[in-house]
């Protein structure tokens, strides 16, 4: 029996500057949504093992084939390019039964796109969508909705009861099958109830377990201004849908919107000439809406939007200036509430400032996670050396992300120096048995020094 708990008991309400009335009004529509409690660690460990190792007697893929831990539980073209040709991700290239209508290898390799038959399997050649791989971080804070969980890009990713627990069943059928017949017991086996419990527990354990509370006391001039714009419901208007830079319009309400992404001109995948049908989003037939992704984790999990249409975080922010958004139902709605009839209109400097804010909060989350990984590694090292080393390698990858995210925006060069030093120390710690503890402690200190350049106090 699952104990239910209410998200609204756990998280304070989102702060929107338009007025507390806005929050109060939105909260009227928020039900006390049930979400499993913190699971026992052995269930999480079992879920991890299944997530990364279980093929369900299918084509060789695991959940981890697309949701790579060292890549923030997603994949992108740069990472895909590093994989060997016999990686199960490329099964459509070497399994004759999956050569047609299972994946589009060109779009996978060039844009990180995966084929999905969300509107049914009756016309495989023509009815499909091409979507990026969403990360599975911070699910505990980002998929609850009064009508039921919103999984996947359009909120309707899971079969059966639509829950995160059921998501793996649909994923096995869609992505793990040996042939397009998709016969249970022949082309794959479906997860057992115990496996679904473990997978759900593992996924809910990933990333942030709590919402940020904005505004943060940021130190950087540009990021600080970006935060102001983000929170300004008469200018950036970002916080209206991405409350506290998360995924909710109000606690426990991850909502769907039609923001016009499908109307973007010159979408990269379509420029290739490959068939890329219009993605109609939620439901069958779709209503054109997609659920809101969390932004804290955004800067190091691009490309952006459900179709990987935009490569950079600056480009993703700039999208909201364009015609595709401003002509969409969501853009039109914002315009209808604006005294000047404007949906969203930011100038170039403001776009970069909002992106800088997103880069900094992403780095703060990476540092939090890295320190956690390093502490866990240190606690394990004397009796589980391999596991400790694995955690160190993850900490190294996270630190690499922090460096890329800050340096990519020309932000906080002093912090970047400390992060580089931390990464160097972690690298040494991985290979060191006798000095590992000391090196790990020093790496944590460097992370803390980097953090101090980004934010005042504990944030």
């Amino acid at each position: 029996m699952r104990a239910a708990f209410c998200l609204s008991n756990r998280f304070p309400f989102v702060r929107l500057r338009v007025s507390g009335a806005l929050v109060a009004a939105a909260a009227l529509l928020v039900a006390c949504n049930s979400m499993p409690p913190d699971p026992p660690s052995d269930l999480v460990a079992k879920g991890r093992d299944i997530f990364f190792n279980e093929t369900f007697n299918g084509n060789g893929r695991t959940c981890g084939s697309c949701h790579r831990e060292e890549r923030n539980f997603t994949i992108d073209p740069a990472f895909i390019a590093t994989l060997p040709n016999n990686d199960a991700l490329f099964v459509a290239e070497f399994n004759p039964n999956l050569k047609q209508n299972f994946e589009n290898p060109r779009l996978m390799r060039e844009f990180g796109l995966i084929l999905e038959n969300l509107d049914g399997f009756d016309d495989l050649a023509n009815r499909f969508t091409m979507r990026g791989v969403p990360h599975v971080l911070a699910l505990r804070t980002s998929i609850a909705n009064p009508q039921g969980p919103r999984t996947g890009w359009s909120g309707d990713g899971a079969p059966a009861d639509g829950s995160l627990r059921s998501f793996a069943v649909g994923a096995v059928i869609q992505h793990f099958t040996k042939t397009l017949n998709r016969v249970s017991g022949v082309d794959f086996r479906l997860p057992t109830d115990a496996e679904l419990d473990a997978l759900e527990a593992f996924q809910l354990s990933l990333g942030r377990q709590n919402e940020l509370q904005l505004p943060l006391r940021l130190r950087g001039t540009v990021a600080k201004r970006g935060q102001e714009i983000f929170l300004d419901n008469n200018l950036g208007k970002c916080n209206v849908c991405h409350g506290n830079a998360g995924a909710n319009v109000a606690p426990g309400n991850n909502a769907n919107f039609n923001t016009g992404v499908e109307d973007l001109p010159d979408q990269p995948a379509r420029l290739t000439g490959e068939k890329v049908p219009r993605d109609d989003g939620f439901g069958v037939p779709g209503d054109g809406t997609f659920n809101t992704p969390t932004l804290v984790e955004a800067a190091d999990t691009g490309p952006f939007f459900h179709n990987n249409a935009i490569e950079t975080i600056e480009g993703a922010v700039a999208f909201y200036n364009g015609q595709a958004f401003n002509n969409s139902p969501s853009g039109q709605f914002l315009a209808s509430t604006d005294p000047n009839g404007i949906g969203i209109r930011l100038d170039g400097t403001q776009v970069v400032e909002v992106a800088a804010f997103l880069r900094v909060i992403n780095t703060l989350e990476n540092i939090r996670l890295t320190v956690d990984l390093l502490n866990r590694s240190e606690a394990l090292r004397s009796f589980k050396y391999e596991e400790a080393a694995r955690l160190l390698r993850l900490a190294q990858a996270e630190t690499g992300d922090s460096i890329s995210v800050l340096a990519g925006g020309g932000l906080h060069p002093e912090a970047v120096l400390h992060l580089r030093e931390s990464k160097r120390l972690i690298h040494r710690a991985i290979d060191s048995f006798f000095s590992q503890r000391d090196l790990t402690r020093k790496a944590i200190e460097e992370q803390e020094k980097a953090r101090a350049f980004l934010i005042e106090g504990k944030g």
């Binding site: 009335a21 806005l22 009508q147 059966a160 998709r182 769907n256 069958v284």
Partner: protein, 126 residues
């Protein structure tokens, strides 16, 4: 002004809200009878078709809890579950709802149990 803001807030929430909980239907087709997590036996009934009314487009199901008559509408999805003969599951029609066949029915409303959301029909032979 306060009223305007309340309307704004409600509108934002409603704009982002779909009308109902949603279990994806496309892969549901490939889940064998009785194995739909969180749904089978909770929101569905499994049993044999005892009667079919072509005119009313209803099916009477005989299950462990007795007889249950359910309406089949244009939006009801019907799938042929051929897992037992190791063949791919297919989309079916009302004509596939035949007396004596084993079926699983998911209701649109689990309380009233009057209208079928989807029906899986077990096919055991060619």
């Amino acid at each position: 002004m306060r009223i305007v803001l309340i309307v704004f807030g409600v509108a934002i929430a409603v704009l982002g809200m779909s009308l109902h909980a949603h279990g994806q239907k496309s892969t549901e087709r490939y889940i064998p009878i009785g194995q739909s997590p969180g749904v089978s036996q909770k929101l569905t009934s499994i049993g044999e078709i005892a009667d079919v009314d072509q005119l009313k487009r209803t099916v009477t199901l005989l299950g462990p809890a007795g007889q249950q008559t359910v309406s089949i509408t244009d939006s009801t999805r019907i799938w042929l579950d051929r897992t037992k003969i190791k063949q791919t599951n297919l989309t079916g029609t009302f004509a596939d709802l035949q007396k004596g066949r084993r079926v699983e029915v998911k209701y649109q409303d689990a309380q009233t149990r009057q209208v079928a959301d989807w029906v899986k029909v077990e096919i055991t032979g060619p």
